[in-house]
Symmetry: C2
Subunit: 423 residues, 2 copies
């Protein structure tokens, strides 16, 4: 690779709001999205909420001349909704489905059925290995009483761990997607601090688009205006994050968002705003390599975020266990009721009533059994994330105690990210 090597990457990210039968003007929006992507000819287009595989196939056909490579990440009952279109050949791809993703009995929210996941693409561009991740985390239906907070924190941790463990040899790491997390939310801080990814909106000097980089804005006619009432400019929950490792330097030259309208006609492409980033990768001159040793002061944010996440997951484990125990008591009660009904039916007297009540009792028993199994599984999933966090926290504390001279390898939100591991 030449020493004056430089690579320009143009990215597009959009949560497409493509729910069959429910999302307004879906076919028309998909058509216009295809036209726009063809016209702009990005290097990579990463899409979320393409729930219908027919929509993906339609886009694939439409985009094939400009984006010869494409992939749809399948998971859950409905599908992950994630897909990508690439101008460059895809070397490898795989995916990771999040262990926890809401509750099956919250049918009206539907996240559990979607199999939310993170998709990974490996590309090789000009001798450079690029890992591009696309994801969509659990939705936030109420900010005041967010019953999915713990699951979203666990997902953010799994996402961070997946990126951490699969990108160790990558030169450039990109993450695009709808995180359903505001920039200061615990999950977002945890993800950025543990992976060392940088936020394009915060890093770029050339931003044009919606106020404060928001990706759900009140100007968008598809957005539920009541939900955005507490946020006059809207909310920023879709991201382009990146980092370069092993002697490369990456920067965000420009970042654009749509502003509640289609870039060309008057109606928006989705209820979310699209993100369009131009990134530049080049060899890292010495002045761009930050010091590989970090003093205790720099470690504190990671430690405090890990502690916060640990506490959140710990509460989640306790709650999941409470529900499992509650379901266990209901199972016991159901079994007792069933035995009583059998005795009554055998003894005569209120036989009809006993027979009538028998089936609902069995239903109660089966329902409670399902709830028990689900929350047992939830407790295991949360315990797993908590144990991983605890381990990382222990090592971060050890590193803080030892001081900058003899620290074990920990990625810490620095430009070189995982590069610190090469000791």
């Amino acid at each position: 690779m030449k020493p004056n090597f430089s690579l320009r990457l143009r990215l597009f990210n959009l949560n497409c709001w493509g729910i069959p039968y429910l999302s307004k003007h879906r076919a028309d929006r998909m058509k216009r999205l295809g036209d726009f992507l063809n016209m702009e000819s990005f290097d990579l287009a990463l899409l979320e909420e393409v729930w219908s595989e027919q929509d993906f196939q339609y886009l694939r056909q439409k985009l094939s001349p400009t984006y010869p490579a494409a992939h749809y990440f399948r998971s859950g009952v409905i599908g992950s909704g994630l897909c990508i279109f690439s101008k460059h050949p895809i070397q490898e791809f795989t995916q990771h489905v999040y262990t926890l993703n809401g509750y099956p009995y919250m049918i009206h929210h539907g996240d559990w059925f979607c199999g939310k996941a993170v998709g990974l693409l490996v590309l090789r561009l000009g001798g450079l290995e690029l890992n591009a991740y696309v994801t969509h985390l659990h939705a936030e239906y109420s900010r005041q009483k967010d019953i999915y907070l713990t699951h979203r924190v666990a997902q953010a941790w799994e996402l961070a761990q997946f990126i951490h463990h699969t990108s160790k040899k990558a030169d450039v790491v990109l993450l695009c997607g709808d995180l359903n997390l505001h920039p200061k939310d615990l999950g977002c801080r945890l993800l950025k601090e543990w992976t060392g990814l940088h936020d394009a909106y915060l890093e770029t000097r050339d931003f044009k688009g919606s106020e404060e980089g928001c990706t759900m804005v009140p100007e968008n006619c598809y957005v539920n205006q009541r939900e955005l009432e507490p946020f006059p400019f809207g909310i920023r929950i879709d991201y382009v994050l990146y980092k370069a490792v092993s002697g490369f330097y990456i920067s965000c030259k420009t970042l654009r968002t749509t502003t509640g309208r289609d870039p060309h006609s008057g109606t928006p492409l989705s209820d979310h705003e699209a993100l369009m980033a131009t990134l530049c990768v080049r060899h890292s001159p010495p002045q761009h390599i930050p010091s590989p040793t970090h003093g205790p002061a720099e470690r504190s944010p990671l430690i405090s975020i890990l502690k916060e996440a640990w506490t959140e997951l710990d509460l989640g484990v306790a709650q999941a266990r409470w529900w499992a125990s509650f379901a266990g008591y209901v199972i016991g009660l159901g079994l007792l009721l069933l035995a009583l009904l059998c005795a009554l039916a055998a003894g005569g007297g209120v036989r009809e009533v006993a027979i009538l009540l028998w089936t609902p009792s069995v239903g109660l028993l089966l329902g409670a059994g399902a709830v028990y199994l689900f929350h047992m599984q939830e407790a295991k999933g949360l315990s797993r994330a908590r144990a991983e966090l605890q381990h990382v926290l222990g090592r971060a504390r050890e590193a803080q105690d030892l001081g900058p001279e003899s620290q074990p390898a920990l990625p810490l939100g620095q430009q070189e990210g995982d590069g610190t591991e090469e000791q």
Copy 2:
């Protein structure tokens, strides 16, 4: 690192058969296992089927002086059953739960509830980065009519992909566990060919133990003798697999198995035999580095195995879709029946019968709904693995057509494994 660097690794692997209330002499066997591990002082002990976390805690306490680091991988409803004990500090750990793992309605087999997974440990030994994986794939309950074959092939592929994507920077990769696959089984060949892992039993020149390296033998009093009838020496389904990358060379100096008896007293430690391997890692002298280019002839096994696996998964997808469609018809029928019953109940006449039949109809509907959701999810999971396989197959074929000069990166069961990717 010194040029004459050499590292000796002593490993222990055992499927512990630790099912609470069901496995015979569990407490006694756990006690003796702890004594044995303490006495032998391995570098790493990797255990499967430790279903009870109490057993893990018991072992942790007992082994803590010899193995200061330990971890239990939690997943599913019951737990993955996987745990490890290490003489050396654990740098990092994470896990991946397999997307597909049997059927929830096969309660008597129970695999679905276990959340079968692969656990990953990252260790640093003498400047060397070691990725150790432990896993347990879906059991084989009938070799003649194996309804879980497709799931096991999908698991083997997910395992291979997880290792492939998480070990790119590792110097040494180890995989131990109960694969529930015979050496010539499709899943085993796929795993070895795609990851480049070597089988300790086939590689070592110093093997002592059961005939043909079997890990379930008829001499073991806990083994169901009828199941082993077609295999006079037993079966080999537990493995120690390894590879070295980036300029290191690894070999298996010795491999031992137990032979249906406890190493010291007369009763075995489990229904499986333990594997004990001594591996030696050193800098790879030039003569040990195989040629980094492989002609079309060497690629053929990978291509034919990928094709075979693709066919198996394709059949699985078709079958899953058939079941989903069947459940869809039953749902339709159930809805019709329910409407009819409501009409009958409203119209009088056979009102009692209608009310009596109403609840079973709802039960039928809910049951069919659950079956539908499960098999839809199964079809998505299998389609995902099939798409990944198809992509790899396409690239392997391209490589074959291009010849050895301009091949893209593909790990191919060579000693340097993923090292071929550095082009």
